[in-house]
Every structure is written in structure tokens, then in C-alpha cells.
Symmetry: C2
Amino acid sequence: MISVIKVGGAVVEDPAQLAILLDEFVKVEGPKVLVHGGGRTATQLATKLGIESKMVGGRRITDSDMLRIVTMVYGGLVNKNIVAQLQARGVNALGLTGADMNIVQAHRRPITPEGIDFGYVGDVDDADGERIQQLLQNGITPVIAPLTHDGKGNMLNINADTMAQTAAVALSSVSVGDVSLTYCFELPGVLRDANNPDSLISKISESDFKNLVADGTISGGMIPKLENAFSALHAGVSSVRITNIQDLQGGTLICK
Amino acid sequence: MISVIKVGGAVVEDPAQLAILLDEFVKVEGPKVLVHGGGRTATQLATKLGIESKMVGGRRITDSDMLRIVTMVYGGLVNKNIVAQLQARGVNALGLTGADMNIVQAHRRPITPEGIDFGYVGDVDDADGERIQQLLQNGITPVIAPLTHDGKGNMLNINADTMAQTAAVALSSVSVGDVSLTYCFELPGVLRDANNPDSLISKISESDFKNLVADGTISGGMIPKLENAFSALHAGVSSVRITNIQDLQGGTLICK
């Protein structure tokens, strides 16, 4: 089993939570990949530098100033701190963006039909599962920042959930064994009632999902997260889980 | 022949000069490693954020705020831009710090006898030449930022000349073939008269060096650069060159 684990900004940007996550991550057996976000630190740095953070539908508009910020924060600050802290825990981590060894090929997102230009935001074309697998076979633990390049010399900003899905699917396509994908966030998993942590839904199939969206139980940012999960399953990933850093084997299991 | 090429901040921070360098770098035959600086961008970013850049004898004092800056700038911005631009030129680059795959082991520099605390500045203990060589054998071109870690979870700032020397020496210790080390900077090489680019000294032996320092021809920051060069030669590096980005095979050859 190869484990691909994605952690969002709220976890990686809080030293105490990051320490808990990394302690749990170290315990995960077998080859593993960590994919991280870092959006809050990027927004904070942009604010300090007088650069406005523009969001459309929860997605960041990445102009050239913002691209510099996310390249610094995701590719440098957050990524290398995780690498250093994993090394201190005896995990031989390698920080990567999709540009490194060309592991993720992408193109700049075209202007949308509604006329929105997301700027230096990438849509993924392909990923090199063999190269990632080769690292794992050499005892290396990739730590992937949500960035890649356009093949023309520019870096591109990638949604971190998408990056995790991309890595898991690419590994599925070259692995004989199973690949699991785990999305970690603040809550214990998908909840029936967002205000009640005890209302965890332990398992969601694709037909459950349709019903839960129809009756309003699942809404907002959870919808694209679950759509990502199902598309990963359809592309060969064995299991997808949405959970909390303190319970990497628990939370909500997403199944076909 | 394995080539280790170091470029300073003035080159990597000017898009036009960087393009020239990368065009020349692509032409270098055989396995190669690029080591870069980025100090000016770090100083600029620190100034914008109201963080004071403290220098002692040309060396940066790296407190925790400055460590965040250099981790962002060297490990993120400068490193990933070079990687993206090498990928666009068909070179399969991999951006690294010494923390990645633990390729450079270091410790935090102790407070000097004069009472100077350089902060998060590293002194190198060892480097993993085998791991770097393995990358080269897999067709990967490492692009190394002047950063590493202390094994306790902290990143450390490393002098870029020292990082280049470390990589070259580590490769020499595991390679059957020759390893060359090239320091690129603004001038055509070591000059007899700093104001006259035609006064290039094409070759400097260790005894020449002593005479040139004694008569004042070589002074200031060139002295530690040449000392680094001789120590690399004594540690097994085949040849060291100090030159300009437009003449990677020219400039001043340093020999025992």
C-alpha cells in the first residue's frame, strides 16, 4: 500500500498541529507521499507586502506578484520546514514541486467563458508516476508543494487537493499494489451536522453522495473535495479518506 | 567530467543575465550541478517587510525572521524559477536544499570567540555524494539552494560558495572521473586591476596566490573565494575556475 496524504494550510501553518501531523505521518507504514497547502501564510505575506489577494469561488487569482508569493511560501517556507522536520524524525524527505524532475505537466488555465483570468494557475495534463515510484523505491518520501510549471519557464499555482489526487492517480497507474489517498482537514471527517463533531458519516458511496448533496447535508467546499475523491477512485486509486490529522485511519471513507 | 557551477545573486536575480547563464549552462556537456545564491532578493524582501539585514564581515546574520526570508527566497523563489526555466530548455532539473534527501549534514555555527552569533547559519559536516551522483546517473540535474538543516528540524543558511565546494568535493569522493568546480561572477575572472577587464590572470597556483595576496593584487572577498578553491582542489576536485557566465570554459583557472 502506498499512502498519499494531503494536509491543508491550517495544519501546516500551526507549529503545534504540524508537529502532531508529522508524528502521525511518521507512523504510517509503507511508502508515503505528503502533499501540503499553505494559502493562509501566502495571504498573510501578500498583505504585509501590500499585494491584494483576489479570490473567485474560493480559488486564488494568481497574478505575477502573487505567483512570486506562492512560489516563496509553498515551494520554500512551508515545504522546506516540513522537510527539515521530517528529517529530524528520521524520514528521508525530498521537497518537490511538479516542476522538479518534471513530475507534473500542466498548462496555464485559459480565461473562463465568464471572462475570469485566474492568472498563473495550472490545469494538470499529466504526471510522472514512475519517477515518484522510483523515489519511493529508493527510500525517499516526497513532500509535494501545490506548484508546477508550464513547460515555458513559468511556475504555476495548483490546487493542493488536485495535486494530491494527481500524485495518487499517477502512482496507481504504475503500481501493482494499492494506493490510498487521505485528505486531512480540521474536522473529524464529513459531518451530518457541521456543528456536531459526533455526527461523522463513516462511509459515503457515490449514490450516498448524490442524496447527501440533494438534501443539503453536503454543501460548499465539501462538494468539490468529494468530487475530487470520486474522480480519484474512478482513475484507479484504491481508497479515499477524509479525516483529521489525529486519526489518519479514521474519518470518512469514500467508496464507489 | 562532472561540472559543478556556482552562480551568485547578481546573475540569478537579473532575468536577462539568468537567461544567458542558463543558455550557457545547457551547453555544458556531461552531468552537471547548478548551485545558486540569491542574497540581494533576500535583502530586498527583508527591507520590504521591515526586517533589518545584519551583516558581519560580508556574512549575513540569520535570525529566525531572516531564516524565513532566505528559506522563501533561496529555497522557493530563486530555486524554482531556475528549475522551471531549465525544464523549458529541456534540462530535467531538480531543485534541492541540503535538507532534501539529507544531502548536506550541518550544525548551527557556534557563537564565535569574538561573541558573534550568526544565528541559523550552518557549518557543513558532511555531504552525500552518492545520492547526488545517483541523481546525475538518472539524468537529473540538481539545482542546489544555499540552505540545509541541522537534523533537529531547523533550516540553516549556508554560504553559496561553500555549498558549491561541498557538492564538488562530495562528488569527487564517489566519482571515478574528474569533477570541475566553476564559480561564476560579474567579472571575467581574477583581475590584476579590478578596473581593467583586460587584466585577467588566466592561471593561479597556490604559490602565485600567496604572492598576489602579499603584493595586494588579490584582496577583499576574492581571498576567501580563492581559499575555498584551493581547499576544494586539496579535497580531490580536479579543477576550479573563476569566470563569467558568458565564458564558462575561460576566466581564471585555479591549480595546485
